[in-house]
Structure formats: C-alpha cells, structure tokens
C-alpha cells in the first residue's frame, strides 16, 4: 500500500546500512537519543493505556446518575489519577521526550543531543515517577483532582496518596526541566553547517518554544508542590486558611505552570502536523515564517493567561479583564497555524493514508477545541461553564483531538524510520475511523451537558442528564476498543512488518536521508543539506534530481 518510490535523495550515498537495535538495549541506560526517544514513546504509551483504563471506569460509573459502581471517594481518585497520568506520564513525555529526542538531532543533522547523559537521566526519572504514582493505589491514591487545590488537598483523607502524588510530580517536573535545557542548547548550537534558524524544520521551532515554556514555568510548579508538601506533612500554613494561609495563591502558582503546560502538550504536536502535511500532500508548508513566529507568539502570550482558570476564584476585576484579553489574543497565532495548514492542503495531491488522515483529523477536532477555547476566554461566558462538562469537552478536544491525534499522525509517519518496518495501512485506517468516531461520541455531547448544568468531577448527577451520559460512555468504550488495532498493528509490524525503505514518503527533512532505522550517530559521513525542508512541488523536482546526482558524484 505504500506509494511507489522515486528516490529523489541519494540516501544510499551516505553509506548507512540499517542497523536494528537489540531488544535489551531499550532496557539500558543508553545515551543514544534515538533509543531514549523510543523508550519515552513506549513507556508513555503504556501509561496512556493505564490512563485510558482509569477513564473507562470513570465513564462506566457515569453511565448511570447514581454513584453505584465505585465508592465515591475512590471515584475522585480515579479521575485524579486519570488526569495526572494522561498529562504527566503520557502527553508531556511522549511529545517532548519521545518525538523531541528522536527527531531533533536527526532533523538538524546532529549526532546526538547536546547532553546525552543528562538526557538519559531525564528519561530514567520518569520511571520511578510513574511507579511511585502507581504505588499510591495501595495506600489510597490522591483524590483532589489533578489540580490538588488546597485546603481540600491538605485536609484530604488520602494523606499518603497526596504526598506520593506530590513526590511524583516533583520527579516528572525535574525530568521536564532537564529535557528543556537539553533541547534549547541542542537546537541553538548543534545545527549542521548551512542550516540557519529559518531553514530548520518547523518541529524544531515548536520544540524551542515548548522548551522555553517548560524551563520558565516548571520551577514555579515545583515551588508550589514543595509548599503544599510542607502544609501537608509538617503543618505549615502557606495555603491553609485556618492558619492564615491563602488557598488562592496556590491557584496562581499552579496555573502559572499548568496553563503553559497545555502549550507544552500541544506545541510539539503543532510541529508534528507541520512535518506530516507537506510530504503527504506534496506541497510546501504554507507560510513557514508565520508558523514559526506564531509558535514564539504562543510561547510568549501563553505565559500571561494563567488566571483565566480562576475567573470564579475571587480574583479582582482588572485581573480578570487583563487575562481575558490576553487569552483571546492567543487565538490569533493559533488561527494563523490552522489557516496555514489548511492552505498547505489546498491544491495538493493528498495521499490519504494514516499519517495524513490523523493529521487532518487533528485539524478538524483541534479546531473545535480552539473555538470553544475562545468562548471560554470570554470572562462572563467562562463564569457559567467553569468547572462543568463544557470544560471537560473543551480540553479533551484540545488534548485528545489535538495532542493524541497528532501523536498518532507522528507515529504513523515516523514508525518506518524508527523501526525499519511499515505499519499495516488497512488497520491504520480502521484505527483512524474508530478513534475519530469514538472521540466525537465521547466528548462532543459533553459540551451540552456542561451548558445545561452538569458540573465536572461528580460521581452522581441529576437524572435529566442520563441519556447524554450514556452516549458519552458508549463513545469511551469505542475509544477503548480503537486502541486494539493500533497496538496489534504496531507490535506485529515492528517484528514482522513489511521492510521500510529509507524514505518511504519521499520526504525532504534530514531524518529521511539516513537509513531506516538510523545507525548510531545517525550518518556515516558528514550529512549534507541538499534542499529546504519543504521544497515540494513540481517546480523543484528537476532541480532536486540534479542536486542529488551532483552530490552523489561528489561523495564517490
């Protein structure tokens, strides 16, 4: 099912023979960025399945209005752990640690990340963090939401679970700071000769913006966690009003990190989409500079919107108005990206295989999350729907319809590079259709629930909402089933799939100029920059052929 190949780039000329990594190397403290990238991807995907399982129990409980499946206290633990796992152990590690590590050195023609050992440490911090968090199921897991607002998180019955939760967040936070430093230095100083900032692939711009955000914001979260831990463990009163503390201050610290965290989860995915669209629609990316600058704009504005999560918290008016305006402004660079992607597709030769299907699925669902985001940005609108299912719908359109769809697009696109094998296209399409239907069934109706009056984080609800909740629960089960074809496809193809050529999509970014999978240190000789990352189009083809021939002659 793969397209026929006219190798326009003489990858063989670089002399690399594909080299499979032995299975046990994935379980070692490897410093190879490609192994670390795959370690991140596989680990986080396992946590995705865990988080999905927790969500399925949540949805099963919500199939009926009464709290009848699990104990209500445990229900709170379920969605708390679901949110925590999905954010800190799935999306963030997958998009930054996974794709970032695997792709950045390959895309900029480097041998590895700037600090390989630091990179390995960052990955190996996430394992104890995950184990620690899972261990809390033996002690009563944290139950105060992934936001852990005091004073509830201080007075909670699940004391041990809450402490473990804080410890786990501190570990992933540290990991994320280390990774951010590494990405910034690598992208800034290790680009190959001839690659200036504006000839980097857009994924590199996205990772740059992401890393700046992670570096600036994560320490603030760590501070909040340490103070919360003190309140919990030794009875200080930073956030406890009975001792004169201020619970709203915690919310400021928390959201100062956690709003940027949303962009940490979605900017790299924007980058992935910008990489996937051009080769599969056979057109240059439309508006390279606008997309690059909009990443930086989002990064900058994203630092000043946090209090839009606190419109009902008793914040003063001027603050609410300020944050409303900045929040609404973020929609402008985001809109630029969406329009540019759509314009990239326009007039192309769309190869509607799994990578492009997921990428277009991303655009169409993320758009809905973006539009509901504009609604939420308006202070008075938010006041009604804050902490309701409307918000749950919104952020799943962004995080599931956005991040997860983008991750899948990236996985289908780079799987051949990572493993040297093709994924089965038929099962890829089945996977896409099931995911797309499941996603809209689960989260679409939640908009209505929220507007009509159903709050979030409740195990029991007014029976008038029962029919819509049943639809959501059915959708969640479709989503659960949708992962089956993917998992089977991925595992089977990794071992037995059709052998992948070096450049199955005829793509132009640097990672496709080496073997699939790439050798350690990525290229045999010095890699050469032959084309811009997005020089697709009939007009370029001839020139490219000549350049490739010239280059291969020069090398031999």
């Amino acid at each position: 099912m793969t397209q026929t190949l006219i190798p326009t780039q003489s990858s063989g000329a670089m002399g690399a023979e594909p080299q499979k990594t032995l299975w046990w190397e994935f379980f070692t403290f490897s410093v190879d960025h490609k192994i670390i990238g795959i370690q991140y991807l596989v680990t986080s995907f396992v946590f995705y399945l865990v988080g999905g399982l927790l969500a399925s129990i949540v949805r099963a409980e919500l199939a009926t209005p009464d709290s009848d499946l699990v104990d209500p206290a445990f229900y709170n633990s379920l969605f708390t752990m679901h949110g925590t796992v999905m954010i800190f152990l799935w999306i963030v590690p997958a998009v930054t640690g996974g794709f970032g590590n695997y792709l950045i050195p390959l895309m900029i023609g480097a041998r590895d990340m700037a600090f390989p050992r630091l990179n390995a440490i960052a990955f190996w911090l996430t394992i104890p963090a995950g184990m620690l968090l899972m261990s809390s199921f033996f002690f009563g897991p944290a139950s105060t939401g992934w936001t852990a607002y005091p004073p509830l998180s201080i007075l909670t019955n699940e004391h041990v679970g809450q402490v473990i939760w804080i410890g786990s967040i501190l570990l992933v936070g540290t990991s994320s700071i280390l990774a951010a430093v590494n990405f910034i230095v690598t992208i800034w100083s290790m680009r190959m000769p001839g690659m200036d900032l504006f000839s980097m692939p857009l994924f590199c711009w996205a990772m740059m913006a992401t890393s700046v955000l992670a570096l600036l914001a994560t320490p603030v979260l760590a501070g909040a966690m340490v103070l919360l831990g003190f309140d919990l463990l030794i009875g200080t009163n930073f956030f406890n009003p009975t001792g004169g503390g201020d619970p709203v201050v915690y919310q400021h610290l928390f959201w100062f990190y956690s709003h940027p965290a949303v962009y940490v989860m979605v900017l790299p995915v924007f980058g992935i989409i910008s990489e996937v669209l051009p080769p599969h629609s056979r057109k240059p990316i439309f508006g390279y500079k606008a997309i690059a600058y909009s990443s930086m704009m989002i990064c900058f504005l994203g630092l000043f919107v946090w209090a839009h999560h606190m419109f009902t918290s008793g914040t003063p008016d001027w603050l609410r108005v300020f944050f409303m305006v900045v929040t609404l402004l973020v929609s402008v660079p985001t809109g630029i990206k969406v329009f540019s992607w759509v314009a990239t597709l326009w007039g192309g030769k769309l190869r509607l295989e799994s990578p492009l299907l997921f990428a277009m699925g991303f655009i169409s669902t993320f758009l809905i999350g973006g539009l509901s985001g504009v609604m939420l940005g308006s202070t008075p609108i938010d006041i009604h729907v804050h902490d309701t299912y409307f918000v749950v719908a919104h952020f799943h359109y962004v995080l599931f319809g956005g991040s997860v769809f983008g991750i899948y697009a990236g996985l289908y696109h780079w799987f051949p590079k990572m493993t040297g094998r093709m994924l089965n296209e038929f099962w890829g399409k089945v996977h896409f259709v099931l995911t797309f239907i499941g996603m809209h069934l689960t989260f679409g109706p939640m908009h209505i629930l929220g507007l009509q009056g159903m709050p979030r984080r409740v195990a029991q609800y007014d029976p008038q909402f029962a029919p819509i909740n049943v639809i959501c629960t059915i959708g969640a089960f479709v989503l659960a089933i949708s992962t089956v074809p993917f998992v089977i496809n991925a595992v089977y193809s990794w071992f037995k799939g059709e052998q992948a050529p070096d450049n199955p999509w005829n793509a132009l970014t640097m990672e496709w100029t080496t073997s699939s999978p790439p050798i350690p240190h990525n290229w045999v000789g010095e890699p050469v920059l032959l084309t811009g990352p997005y020089d697709y189009g009939e007009e370029y083809k001839e020139a490219r052929k000549e350049a490739a021939i010239a280059a291969s002659q020069a090398l031999t």
Binding site: S67, P72, N76, T144, P151, P241, T242, G244, P247, S281, R282, K283, F286, G287, K289, A290, T312, G314, T315, P316, D317, R320, M324, S331, V338, F339, V342, L345, W346, G347, G348, K349, L350, L352, I363, S364, L367, L371, V374, M375, T379, P380, I381, H386, D387, I448, L451, Q452, G453, P455, V458, Q460, D462, Y534, D535, Y536, G537, E539, Y540, K541
Partner: protein, 322 residues
C-alpha cells in the same frame, strides 16, 4: 469561468453567514434564563457561538472539499504547485480574527460589567494584599474584591452598605456537603428562596474547603472560600425551581452537594418567610443544627443528620457512604 467562480464564492460566504446567524440564535443549548444577568449572558453566548460556528463551517468545509477535490488519483505521482506563501492572504487571515477577537473582548467586558453591576468602591483594599484599586468609574471592581476586603464582618441582612435597601441580602454558608442560607439571625434554611424581580445579594463564606455556588439558570458562579468572603448579585425574573449546584470539587460527596433555589412571587415569598420565622421560634434546635458556627463543632454524622432532617429528605446520598 472566473466570473462564475466569484459568484459561487459570494454565494457560499452568504450561506455561511446566514447559517452562522441562524445557529447562533437557534442553538437551544442553554437552559431557561431565570435572571436578568442570564439574558445578557445568552445574548453574548449566542453571538460568540454564531461567530465560532462560521469559522467552523469555513475550515471544516475546506477540509472536506480538499479530501474530495485534491485527493491523489491513482497513478499520479506528481507534486502539487510549489506555493510557499501569499502575503496578502496571510495578512487578511491575521487581521480578521484579530479584529473579531478584540470586538468580542469589548462586548464581553460590557456584558461582564453589566452582569456584575457597578458600585462605588474607590480606594478599598483587596483582601489582605493591601493594594488600592482603581477609581470606580473607569474600572468597576468585582463583588469578590470588596467582599474579601471586608475580612472581619459577616454582613447580616439589612446591614448592607448605604443605599442598598432594595437589595435582599442573604448570608450563605457552604460546607461539606451542604448549603445553609441565613436570612436573619434566626432564619436559616437549606433551600434558597428569593422573590422575583428583587435584586439579591449572597454574602458567601465556606467553613472547610473550597466550594462554588452555581445556578445554571442564572449563569453565575462564584467560588466560596474559607477565610474570606465572596459574593454574588443577581435579579431573579422567572418564577420556578432551579438547582443550586456546588461546582468546585469539595470531597467525596461533591456530586451530592445540591439544593434548590425557588424563585417565588412576592406573596409566596412573604408567606414562606413567615413560615420559616414560625418554625424557627418553635424549634430553636433546627436552627442551631444548621448554623455554620455550631456545625464546625459537631461531628460529620451529627451535622448531616441535622441537615437532612431540615431539608426534609434527600437522604439518598447520605446513605451512599460506607
């Protein structure tokens, strides 16, 4: 050919406009608007929804059109045209959303100030932070701001700031997992009754953790915070019964922290108030049981028993516990 193209583009844009306006007005997504503020809210909501729907149609339309029109045909291995950018189009699609979004911000600000009402608050400090707020004419401050600056006083009915005789003030106390409404020193109820057409002000305080007061039909919500007072104002306009929902995670039975708000006719309200007065004078215990100050000294079971007895039912969720 070119002319035909232009005509069809204009027709499509016209249709999208029409569909957006129609959907904005007929979305039917919101419950009945039971307060004056809710009417303002719905106007804003429907407008923004209409705009969002327009963008939705444009982008999804282009995506679907592309799938059909630009899909690769069998045997076609060519590339598309090498178009990298088009400055004028990019300027247009940056400028239009910017203008729309700024207009939305201004409209939202207007609705926000109207929903909050304006008060003269010049020079009041904001709770504990000792910061002076701007002059009221240029920037009206929120209820929360003044309320939180009033750190030591629990405002009782009738002791409102000057000139607010036409406002019915009710003290609201939130606790795991119940609402208590104090009308006067004696009258404390588990159900909220308000007369139609009269401005109501809720002075809210939490006993234990964060809660949030929300009546979906009023479109207003405010966190209730231990250690500081926050407040809400609204004007009921449609007689009926509406749910009062706790919207901030407050513990195991957060989902059960619900009660009813009844918007009465003025006569019904007067009758109800009289009844409550009588109940209070006949059975002082009932009030004690529902007083926040005393609740803190009680065990949870004792308190719940008291609350349930007073609310006269809804035992269901209380029994769900272990």
């Amino acid at each position: 050919m070119r002319k035909n193209n232009l005509v069809s583009v204009i027709v499509i844009i016209g249709l999208i406009f029409a569909a957006s306006i129609w959907y904005g007005r007929n979305n039917g997504l919101l419950p009945v608007a039971a307060g004056d503020e809710a009417v303002l809210y719905d106007g804003l909501f429907n407008t923004i929804l209409g705009i969002a729907f327009g963008f939705f149609l444009v982008v999804e339309g282009v995506l679907i059109y592309s799938i059909i029109k630009f899909r690769r045909r069998k045997g076609d291995d060519t590339d598309g045209p090498a178009i990298h950018e088009n400055l004028s189009i990019e300027i247009v699609w940056t400028a239009i959303p910017t203008v729309i979004v700024m207009w939305v911000a201004i409209y939202s600000f207007d609705v926000y100030t109207a929903m909050q009402g304006t008060q003269d608050l010049g020079g009041m400090a904001h709770g504990g932070m000792h910061q002076t707020v701007a002059k009221s004419e240029t920037m009206p401050m929120s209820k929360a701001t003044i309320a939180s600056s009033n750190s030591d006083g629990v405002l009782m009915a009738g002791t409102l700031p000057a000139g607010s005789n036409d406002v019915l003030a009710i003290n609201v106390s939130a606790m795991q997992f119940a609402w208590i409404f104090n009308y006067t020193d004696e009258i404390a109820t588990a159900e909220l009754h308000v007369p139609v057409g009269k401005k109501v002000r809720l002075n809210m305080n939490a006993v234990d953790v964060l809660h949030a007061f929300w009546v979906p039909q009023l479109r207003i919500k405010q966190d209730v915070i231990p250690g500081r007072e926050t407040y809400l104002e609204f004007t009921p306009r449609v007689v009926g019964e509406y749910p009062v929902v706790c919207a901030e995670l407050c513990g195991s039975y957060h989902g059960g922290m619900r009660t009813t708000m009844v918007i009465d006719t003025p006569e019904d309200y007067a009758t109800w108030l009289k009844e409550q007065q009588e109940i209070a004078s006949n059975d002082p215990d009932a009030i004690v049981a529902s007083r926040p100050a005393s609740v803190t000294k009680m065990s949870e079971q004792e308190y719940l028993a008291g609350k349930v007895a007073q609310a006269g039912g809804d035992m269901h969720m209380m029994h769900m516990s272990h």
